[in-house]
Symmetry: C2
């Protein structure tokens, strides 16, 4: 049983009785003991509570009561999401001891699916982009990325097998990629934001990190869907991703996007084009080594991006700054010491943006979203590098420029590690799927996961 | 301008420009300075924030922007209700620094109506019945009642003009009565419980305290009505109580309830029968001294109470104990030190009640609710003493036996002070109205308020 286990592996061992939830939790706690003082992924670890949950879930199994593949899986929860009777610190000094009186809906659903809620993972202040205390486990001088820094680092270290994270710009995909773990940012509105600190509501997403695509899919299935407590949550049916196999279109029609995704990271873009060539075989559409579903890469360099895409970075930033200021401005005025420099600058920027400018951005966001939806008339998924490169030093949280467009248009994304940089840091690709098309996206991603066969390495700690 | 002002008076002075919100707030803050060290009504007082709100509301008036009769009225919020960026302590040591990330719906609505949110008022632990630090301003050796202890004491002292309170047994009516202020417990479900700590959801009500019936009505109108964040909130239209005058049935058909309301407080019951005789004049139905609407008291002693009423106290307690345990049991097991004796006993009782017994109580609650609804085929309102007597010593929070039946059946109640006990403590009556019939109940109560002409006394502090 090679540690750290993926959710896929652990779920298999638990199903067959080779592993109990209690033993799996102890594996995770031992890894926390070993790495946490250097990595600092956690704000709050509930050892006693987790042991109690794991014991109960172990007892349930003895009585043949199996909840599904998340039964007994230890997960971390980003510290802007409420967990009953744990503090929700949000990276704020003032709020550090703010206990939640109930679970956020997404946490409540995870619990019901059998997950063990292990604790709260570090967030940057208010899920913005001031560097956190967390370090990248692949190189302690590098950033884990942000804002879901602790979730990414904890999953990378096997301190937990999955984690909830959130993204407004690139706060899920970027830290996951820097830390070498898989991530999902669902369709906007697909997962209830009840019990979660807002940053910019029209861009905010709850998502998932794990060490395998199945883990993402199972957690997604558990937490997604209509929630009366979040009237804006999507009412569409959540697909069965547990008992129905993940299926991919055959062949997959994939567009490797160019434009900024080429310009801002030409070397990494080349690497991805090579990867796609390798996967589809020589000479275009062909059966891959592994097998059954050919990957047909179309438009590998000439991205069919709408002209409106040219303004996406600037306009995304405007929407984020304005909506964040709408929430935070009174607190910033009153408790400036509770706001570190980067988020302070963002809020000040938001306060200085004219309302008509914001209204123009909201109209652009709507228009670009519809144009991006139309891309899926021709493609099953879009492909880009997940970041502009490997994790930079810990003075920043890295560049979200490849992720914020998908937060802006609300399309679901999955990221997968695919290679190691010469310095020994993970690199990742990002697949973008159609709106509410997470099932198809997981199918595509599972195929890529199998074909890439990412080399997992031991932590250099 | 005699202090403390009622909301009716203050709203009049603010409307005519004789008083500004800023000056009214300073009156309240001065009274806090004068009395708070002895009365201890507050957990958190936000002087700076309140001054900023009052200044803004004063400026709005200069620009002829009048929000309505709550414009500039300082209010206190019971400390189990969330106010943005103030702690919601719930009377728990562990939760004392738990800042709220957004306003509860009822608080948000009060703000929009122009109220100044002054701070958080003392609650007993978890809104149960362990005696709090707060003292009765009419006699510091007496309890202010509970669980909305601070709200009642603060309004009685004129530290604020109105307050939000909550009731599961007698937690609004009893402290209001002991402290000589007016109270409203609305129909169950009429005011959203979003952002409020539950005690027993099928019995929990958000309500109001003030020094006049208009104050209750205006705050009720502001906070009541459908809330998407509380799917159980009542969708029925909230009546206009601000620009339409409160109207009473003419004559009022009032039943003075006997049964337990006589047995448990015979002297006070006699006093109320005398009061009704005085108000209706000699010889039954007649025009009262003051005026226009005769009060016709029917069945002054022989209450038409359903036989099912005999079990109401015991069954109410069962429902409360069970539902409270459903929420608190895991915390009680883990942090017993955070639970004082009375609430601990309640929760332990709840844990020992069999589920079928609870199911029987829920069926009884539903049946009795429908039977009580039918009383209003014959009466416009029911009348009882509001409590079994004046405030007892501070070792208890007093007896809720006259209030918990109305929490159980969910009917709206208004309480009004009507006399002083020989020891100089206030006594109150309780009017019960038809389900969702708050408008009519306020009309009846306003008439009684005028006829009673309660003698307001200076605080003996």
């Amino acid at each position: 049983m090679p540690e750290p286990l993926t959710i896929t592996d652990a779920a298999g061992f638990i199903r067959t009785g080779e592993l109990t939830p209690a033993d799996l939790l102890e594996q995770c706690l031992a890894r926390i003991d070993r790495y946490e003082d250097r990595v600092r992924a956690w704000v709050h670890i509930d050892r006693d509570g987790a042991r109690e949950q794991a014991a109960r879930l172990t007892a349930e199994l003895k009585q043949n009561n199996y909840r599904g593949p998340l039964h007994g899986i230890p997960v971390g929860i980003k510290d802007i999401i409420d967990v009953f009777d744990m503090p929700t610190g949000c990276g704020s000094k003032r709020w550090a001891q703010s206990y939640a009186r109930r679970d956020a809906t997404c946490v409540e659903r995870l619990r019901q699916a059998g997950a063990v809620i292990l604790g709260k993972t570090v967030t940057t202040a208010y899920a913005s982009f001031d560097p956190p205390v967390t370090r990248n486990p692949w190189n302690l001088d590098r950033t884990p990325g942000g804002s879901s820094s602790g979730s990414a680092a904890a999953v990378a270290c096997g301190m937990c097998l999955g984690a909830l994270a959130t993204q407004t710009g690139g706060s899920i995909t970027r830290p996951a990629s820097y830390c070498g773990v898989y991530s999902l940012k669902p369709t906007h509105g697909r997962v209830s934001v009840d019990g979660v600190l807002p940053l910019a509501p029209s861009l905010d997403h709850i998502g998932v990190m794990a060490n395998c695509v199945n883990g993402l899919a199972w957690i997604f299935e558990a937490i997604a869907g209509r929630d009366p407590r979040d009237p804006a949550s999507a009412g569409e049916r959540v697909p069965d991703l547990t008992y129905a196999p993940l299926t991919s279109p055959d062949p997959q029609r994939i567009a490797v996007l160019g434009g900024i995704f080429h310009e801002r990271a030409p070397a990494l873009h080349e690497q991805i084009v090579s990867l796609t060539r390798r996967l589809e075989g020589v000479g275009g559409l062909a059966t891959t080594t592994n097998g059954t579903i050919p990957i047909n890469v179309l438009d590998a360099r000439n991205a069919p991006l709408p002209a409106e895409f040219g303004e996406v970075t600037r306009r995304h930033n405007t929407v984020m700054a304005v909506e964040a200021a709408a929430y935070h401005a009174p607190r910033l005025a009153r408790y400036p010491d509770d706001y570190p420099p980067n988020v302070t600058a963002l809020l000040r920027e938001g306060l200085n943006i004219s309302a008509p400018e914001y209204a123009n951005c909201k109209a652009h966001q709507e228009r670009l979203s519809r144009l991006c939806d139309a891309l899926f008339d021709h493609y099953d998924a879009l492909l880009t590098p997940a970041t502009t490169g490997a994790a930079p030093t810990s003075e920043t949280t890295g560049n979200p420029v490849f992720n914020s467009p998908w937060s802006y248009v609300g399309l679901p994304t999955v990221s997968l590690p695919f290679a190691w940089s010469p310095e020994g840091l993970p690199l990742a690709v990002q697949l973008i799927g159609p709106r509410l098309g997470e099932a198809q996206l997981f199918g595509v991603a599972a195929r890529w996961e199998a074909e890439i066969a990412f080399e997992r390495r031991p932590l250099p700690l």
